[in-house]
Symmetry: C2
Subunit: 224 residues, 2 copies
């Protein structure tokens, strides 16, 4: 059992490159070198080239990469041509923040339905999305063809919600609950966990980060 699977970090970097490329485009730059991208992404030029070469040859030797073209290529790789329809479960503090976060839609993730269990929220409209009772979750997912579910409930409720999402046919779940969700393995799950990130900071602040800092970024690299 060999490759064919691209590492998580490589995918993450592609997202990053994509964002940077859009900035370049907005500034009407239309050719970038791996070095340009690397400097801004905090990677090395060789890594940028390698990441891209995992999927094909998109650059022009001696010149660089065509910004507009590379944007399309990476969008294709990441599955971002077109919109994903997203259903939100839990309209508490995080859920509300997500509903108000225009970037999601601008980046191709449209929240097409929201549900909650709290009587006081059900029936209201939050940032233009009507909140339905949890019982409607399955129906809403099927009717609106949602493919991604966001879990923004208290941790105790998360597993039950994930099971329902899976049963109703979503293929991906983004969870803000600090618990490991068990779902059929063809469903992709990711977690966002602020406490975990803060603990990561804490570790580096307490222990490392003095010496041994692998400084990246600006410095000249690649054929130094």
């Amino acid at each position: 059992m060999t490759q064919s699977k691209i590492s998580d970090s490589a995918v993450r970097r592609l997202s990053l490159y994509l964002r940077l490329l859009r900035e370049f485009r907005a500034r009407e730059v239309d050719l970038v070198s791996s070095r340009d991208l690397a400097a801004r992404a905090g990677a090395t030029a060789a890594q940028v080239r390698k990441d891209l070469s995992l999927f094909g040859s998109f650059g022009k030797r001696g010149r660089g990469y065509a910004v507009a073209e590379l944007i399309e290529v990476i969008e294709g790789i990441l599955g971002l041509r077109g919109h994903w329809r997203v259903v939100l479960v839990g309209v508490g503090k995080i859920g509300t923040a997500l509903l108000g976060f225009r970037d999601l839609e601008r980046r191709g993730f449209e929240i097409v339905a929201a549900v909650d269990t709290d009587e006081r929220v059900i029936g209201t409209e939050v940032f233009g999305v009507r909140v339905s009772p949890l019982a409607e979750l399955g129906r809403l997912i099927r009717e609106r063809e949602a493919e991604i579910g966001i879990v923004a409930t208290p941790p105790e409720a998360a597993q039950e919600v994930a099971t329902k999402l899976a049963a109703a046919g979503v293929r991906g779940i983004l969870s803000f609950a600090p618990v490991k969700l068990s779902v059929p393995k063809e469903i992709c799950v990711r977690n966002v966990d602020v406490v975990l990130e803060l603990e990561g900071l804490s570790y580096r602040m307490a222990a490392g980060w003095r010496e041994g800092t692998r400084d990246r970024g600006e410095g000249a690299r690649d054929r130094a």
Copy 2:
């Protein structure tokens, strides 16, 4: 230049183990095996043992790890004995959600001050924390001895805020803005980026995640 630096993923797993250990403790389990932890963390038993052995020998052969003791050990490793004082910059949707998120404090991260530029928010109290004008940021950090800054501002403002945080002496920054922050390299930075996570999901949903799924978790492993 060799080791001595523990990988990010290992640190992340330690956080995870810590959380699981606390659950075990709440259920009055006082001895766990690497296998128990692994099953719940989505790792392998060997990995749990290796992660811990990077820092010392904390288990009892033939029995397992003492829950209470291991909690203390990991808290020590992660720098979580005692509280970190945190300053929040940006009391918009995300900032407000963070202020209302009691888990932060329970996990040792106390928000001791919050600032914003919006006149309508300045002077109000949000979940018990008074919001001050941005101009006060430096003074507040010094007076309240904040060591971590959270950046929850629009992306355009993030770099400027980060520079101020650094100048005022924080040693760690957690940023929700989708930009690479440049700060003196002794300051540790982490990003939380929901769009990036969704794009990661998108990639797996579009491309992989069919075959090649390295299923983990439940399955028997280690000395199989």
